[in-house]
Symmetry: C2
Subunit: 228 residues, 2 copies
Amino acid sequence: MRPKAVVLLSGGLDSTTTLAQAIADGCEPTAISFRYGQKHTKELVSAENVCKHYGVAHVVIDLNLSSFRSALTRKDIDVPMDREGKLDEDIPITYVPARNIVFLSIAAGLAESIDADRVYIGANAVDYSGYPDDRPDFFKAYEEMLAKGTKAGVEGHPVKIMTPLLHLSKADIVRLGKELKAPLELTWSCYNGGEKACGHCDSCRLRLEGFRQAGYKDEIPYEDGVVQ
Amino acid sequence: MRPKAVVLLSGGLDSTTTLAQAIADGCEPTAISFRYGQKHTKELVSAENVCKHYGVAHVVIDLNLSSFRSALTRKDIDVPMDREGKLDEDIPITYVPARNIVFLSIAAGLAESIDADRVYIGANAVDYSGYPDDRPDFFKAYEEMLAKGTKAGVEGHPVKIMTPLLHLSKADIVRLGKELKAPLELTWSCYNGGEKACGHCDSCRLRLEGFRQAGYKDEIPYEDGVVQ
């Protein structure tokens, strides 16, 4: 019997590649996504399409975090565009307080509920945008907390947090996704919710650079004038 | 200026006493409650009444965990009544996987959002019903995880988890609540959602025993025939 896994799936490039990796690892995945007050739901549509592509179960959790302070959930704060300097210099305004912590917690609860022994998350600490809950020592501390605070943990088989992208650059992730035949053309990364990706927000810039360095064309539609 | 605190408030005896303690500690509290697919919402009404009593802000988060396996959220599993033996012998069927972990995570995110430096939770490890996420070493591991995985944490001022009831018996909690003039008559503990408390579920039994041992009358209505 294949081991069960819960996979956090935003519908972006990284989480879709992570789902492909979970399948390549021989797991039976259940994908979990969140409707948490994002400005747009294009990512969720992508997540759904990716799940249909693979024929995997998809749980969408409604969780209204719109009272939290963040550019990604509050309409009165703008998403930063074409920022100067290194992307990972500071913790950016798009940081949602404790977002990965909240998502991992719900995923871990779901894992215990369906007897899955692992949770996959597509975090990476190389090209990451400065979110503290994307760092290796955070995931270690998180696993230790689960070992103490869950039934599975105190029974000696805590849910494991799998971070297959943790030490990959964005270009490595594109290569891995292509190698695993992940449907990257179905994914959405842009922070803005236009019909085409804007090409200028942090997320688009990282993605475009990743495809460029990996030597692949990104097959999602971009606004006119965006150079691949 | 009073330090800000987020207080997890279910509307029960323990969390209401915890809110009273946060106020006694000199904090400016924001209470947070969850509508997470409980079988009844009497606790939430109690939480609201307690907040009105104190005039404190109250955030209610909708979070549908009904896909999680638990007697508290699934209508096809019965709440155990008049169980034999020690209440803390096993992890009971009323355990919601990772519930405190999920609630603490959202509370910690809210704390960062409003610049609160602490989260109060009314967990206690003495009369507790065997939930692994009510244990002291869990809270320590949880704080360490927050120190690694949040902006406040990496900036050197992680959100603290305050557990003022951790080493108190239920009788101690009743005494503390009375001493702090907490509105215990507004609280609700019964796992069943009747007009009056049933007096027979684990939660009612612990509560009744606590009041009895502390030498106080419990002023909430109980079903006929329940001996205080």
